[in-house]
Symmetry: C2
Subunit: 244 residues, 2 copies
């Protein structure tokens, strides 16, 4: 699918042009960065989802170091795009915690924090999704794959961008037939209890702040130091997270 | 080693009684919760470390939602104990980010966040330590084992406490001969790049905020919801992180 196709099809769903641009930009960037399960293939998936194409996220409350947003029925991508725009327009003096209620689907979390890091801000983002991971010993699925993304800016070059889901495979892989449903377990093999524990912690962190529906939590901090060049030098060519 | 033995030996190192109490309490609680590599065995280890027993952590700066501490040569345990005491005495209205420079060793991170969660606060804590994890494909050790601890309070009962190190084994296991040095790699087997990426993200998060020496970063948030009872019910007896 081309970007032009995607644009046409998303407009046909009733989305306004500005929102379509946000979505196509996210999907195209995901494809460029090899995150194809969050790429333009998502247009077809969106065509099968029920959502209000005219809904807009709302800023519910804002303080000097916290914000609360409500997705209000809008696609989570649009909520995170609005949140990031707000941070870039008015960056925190030190730190800001942004809680987004009813924020789903959120796409490739690494892309959102990368944008903030490219503007010099350190960012940490997590988001919940349908329960698909069970305890490694069995039982019902208890958590989403709950990715954690961390981006660290660097004055002299590309930020480091970490984006780790707690699943051994993605739900997208299962949908695309690249993985079996029983492979969607916490990653780690004999240490899968570690990834499961992280998934539980992030699930409850989001739920304790954003409520029962899927949400997202973003921490933005103004960094005091630039440790990236030294790590790159020390790594001597080893590929670091987020590098092409 | 008994707690009384530990107390006597720590006093003999020149630590003041109030600091000795902090240390013995931490070690004894670590033993009780099965984190024995952070338990009373650490007294012998401390006897072999060079540190100033009279150093005290200092609060360098405090704002409505951020604090900066300097371990100032004191053991990291004492810095985190002072940080937690400060939070408990004056909890944040919404959110507080605490950065602790020169904060090492920090012990079992889960115990610090548990204490905050038992007072009704949501807490996330990470800390850096000597570089021991290399990229799964090889190269020099680039990061510490860099645990991430997350505690979620619950009005009706025990908090959920996640405490995950990114190593397949602990350095303590290696010291104690329970693991070979070559087993101290990012956990995850074929997915070890995920644990490595998280270790890199946490390493740089701490370094970007606390500087080049080992440090710790604590996020404390007042929760809006109590998702723990519903998860416990849903889990139907499956052991959740931090449970006995």
């Amino acid at each position: 699918m081309t970007e032009a196709d995607a644009e046409r099809r998303l407009l046909a769903l009733g989305l306004v042009p500005a929102d379509v641009r946000v979505l196509v930009e996210h999907f195209a960037e995901a494809d460029r960065r090899g995150k194809s399960s969050h790429g333009l293939v998502r247009v077809e998936w969106l065509e099968r989802q029920a959502f209000d194409p005219r809904a807009s996220p709302r800023l519910l409350a804002a303080g000097p170091c916290h914000e609360r947003w409500d997705g209000a029925g809008a696609l989570g991508y649009l909520t995170l795009a609005a949140v990031c725009r707000g941070v870039l327009d008015d960056p925190p003096a030190h730190v800001r915690l942004v809680v987004a209620e009813r924020c789903f689907p959120t796409g490739s979390l690494g892309l959102w924090v990368r944008r903030l890091a490219e503007a010099g801000l350190l960012a940490l983002l997590t988001a919940t999704s349908p329960r698909r991971l069970a305890h490694p010993d069995g039982g019902p699925p208890l958590t989403g794959t709950n990715p954690l993304a961390i981006a660290i800016p660097s004055a002299g070059g590309d930020p480091i961008v970490v984006d780790v889901s707690m699943g051994a495979v993605t739900h997208g892989d299962v949908l695309a037939g690249r993985a079996r449903p029983d492979e969607l377990v916490p990653f780690g093999g004999p240490h899968a209890h570690k990834a499961f524990a992280l998934a539980v912690g992030l699930e409850l962190l989001v739920a304790a702040l954003a409520g029962l529906e899927h949400g997202a939590v973003l921490l933005v901090v103004r960094p005091e130091h630039d440790p990236v060049p030294a790590l790159r030098e020390f790594a001597a060519g080893v590929r670091l997270p987020g590098d092409a």
